[in-house]
Symmetry: C2
Subunit: 417 residues, 2 copies
């Protein structure tokens, strides 16, 4: 009898997708499901970047350079410059989505058994890449009461061991929507320099910063050796299916190692690179519309959620996610119940249980993540569903009904950092 590998056994199933069969069953039964569970934006992919592919003359769709087409990398230099990041084209490797950039970081910088610290809740797929690389994720909790601000430096110091090699930060954050301040990024710098750690910076949501200036890890001075930027066009241009990202570092040894991994898989997707190159030519004003749209959605979502008895949702400063504390004891059960046993006017809502975003067992059981990737009308209908559902849900907790102290709630709701 053949065995699958240890890694194959340990690899986590996607926590976001495990409810999919229940959603499919609900749809088959005629219920409309509002998908707030996954970060797939409904914003139109800019037609001009798809037109660039349509118009391209491609007699032979050849392998590109393993680091990506030089013309695209050179254009990305100007894009990065526009967001205050100064890099050269030979500090960039084009990747297959942000996913591959994360994977390159894990494989080039970390040995099996090494530890990587991640403020939780965090993007669940970091767990998958950690299992692939044999790396241990060490979570440190950020708290909904503070809107998921960076945990204090002392909390990092407590868990740093000789095996600690890196910190992962994602700002604006998935799943919390939190936007790290300049001071918080400087705190991360202090920790990394003091303890000789890499700083992996996942900046997928850079363009969607609402409550202040976005600070890139690449904006930090004296961190050229430490910073590995993991980037993607997926959210920036609503082009998740293109699978196009970038691995950016000024650390020459890390870059050279990543190039060897890039060569082993030959090249990143060719047609997507044409899209990416065209995207750099979009006017800076392109982002005005999607950004305004996301802000309007966020405002509606946060207002509606906080008006529901026992619900608390801090105001996210970026991205298109919000985390909410609900008067429930088991978010996995609640999210399944929404699909299996509930409907309101023939509609229901699909949410992501927050448990999948925490590394510490037991955390997130009364929280859910909501991706505001639907238009205002649908989002409002989805909130009607959730409000009604919380009234009807048999597992509603009375204790939670009082929620946080009112003054705490008000200050966190108003927290615009």
């Amino acid at each position: 009898m053949l065995q699958i590998s240890q890694r194959g056994q340990e690899m986590p199933a996607s926590p976001i997708r495990k409810l999919v069969p229940y959603a499919e069953a609900a749809k088959k039964a005629g219920t409309k499901v509002f998908h707030l569970n996954i970060g797939q934006p409904d914003i139109e992919t800019p037609p001009s970047i798809l037109d660039a592919v349509r118009k391209a003359d491609i007699p032979v769709l050849e392998y590109s350079h393993s680091a990506g087409n030089e013309s695209y990398r050179r254009k990305l230099v100007s894009y990065y410059k526009s967001v205050g990041i100064n890099v050269t084209y030979d500090q960039i490797i084009i990747t297959t989505g942000g996913s591959e950039a994360i994977m390159f970081g894990f494989f080039c910088c970390l040995n099996p058994g090494d530890e990587v610290i991640i403020p939780e809740p965090f993007y669940a797929n970091y767990n998958g890449f950690a299992v692939e690389a044999g790396v241990k994720v060490v979570p440190i909790p950020s708290k909904i009461e503070t809107g998921f601000a960076l945990p204090p430096i002392a909390d990092f110091e407590k868990v740093i061991t000789p095996a600690t090699k890196a910190i992962i930060v994602c700002s604006p954050n998935n799943p919390t929507g939190y936007l790290y301040s300049r001071q918080e990024m400087e705190d991360l710098k202090t920790i990394c320099l003091n303890h000789n750690l890499y700083l992996f910076s996942d900046e997928a949501y850079r363009e969607f910063s609402y409550s202040g200036d976005y600070i890139s890890a690449m904006h930090l001075s004296g961190m050229d050796e430490q910073v590995v930027l993991m980037d993607t066009i997926s959210k920036r241009y609503s082009a998740c299916g293109a699978r196009l990202g970038a691995f950016v570092t000024k650390n020459k040894a890390v870059y050279n190692a990543a190039m060897k991994f890039a060569q082993a898989r030959l090249s990143p997707p060719g047609l997507a690179q044409i899209m990416g190159e065209a995207a750099v030519d979009l006017p800076a004003s392109y982002f005005d519309k999607p950004k305004a749209e996301y802000i309007a959605r966020r405002d509606l979502l946060v207002k509606r959620l906080n008006a529901m008895p026992g619900v608390f949702c801090p105001n996210p400063g970026g991205a298109f996610y919000a985390m909410a504390k609900l008067p429930i004891a088991d978010s996995d059960h609640f999210c399944q119940w929404l699909l299996e046993s509930f409907s309101h006017n023939g509609q229901t809502v699909m949410l992501a249980p927050a448990t999948g975003f925490y590394g510490t067992p037991g955390l997130g059981k009364d929280e859910v993540r909501l991706a505001y990737v639907l238009n205002l009308k649908d989002l409002s209908d989805a909130m009607d569903c959730l409000e009604k559902a919380l009234e009807e849900y048999p597992g509603r907790t009375l204790a939670a009904e009082t929620g946080l102290a009112v003054e705490n709630r008000q200050s966190a709701i108003g927290n615009v950092q």
Copy 2:
């Protein structure tokens, strides 16, 4: 001082690409370089599959299913049926090139420290995926004298240990062009069943079988648990840059494990999947023209090579590669010399030193791989260069000049299996 990982250090640089700087210098100096060093076909990508992308209505380029679009997987079922492979759509995961399919196989089936046997010479990037997965490659030599036929079962038995978990086979073969016979595939089956091993079958060159019927590992009966098929559209439709492949297995546990790896990276490239789906609609006759072209090139190449004093090239049964034994002692030096110090009528030729395709140190030093991916005129000019170069090369070995015994050479040249 930050360190890169052990894997990052051990990861091999691409042996095919290491001569690139010399080629670039030659071109800058005005020399025309015939590229026989890399498997990038010059055959036109079928315009209809690119048109399918051009015509597609894509308001939002969304993530596809992690296993790839169901519509594409269902169409692939009919494609596989046309080549005698019976699989269902839920035994297929669409991958980012054949590269990712190979990676999924290594990660899902093998633990760090496990051993995988590969007849050498072999596709050099298997080494890279092995380092990523912490797996040990155990090469067993196949010989140019037999045209690189499968080594005898006894040679496999000699190197099998408790750590042996898989055999990789590639037919038609890169780099040798060898096409495995039904008997050889049955021999592999015997070994895998007797020793409880996975059979990883890289079938990138399926359509380019010239000397007999191509036998897929999926054609073998009683091997459903063992076989993992690694596939790609790169060579089939001259679409290397699309980065589209497939991981196919009837082993449910392996499939389920691979799905978790697929979910971690979200989805395969979206535009490429449109191409892949359209490609299934190409008429079976589509392959007639490229196949005839490759056969004509092979015939020219093999004839020209064997007419050169001291050169021996067995007749490849498939793919678009040939291995040749040259009257030289150091193929790395010779290939560099061709670019650095030689030209004939302002032209030279770039070859791949065979050393990069062997796992056993010292093997392949008098061999090169030639990819016949150029038209007949260019190929002929490239052979003129090589012929002249071998006359002029200061490192030419006299000993090799007599070559193999004439009767051996004739029988191997005529070997059409």
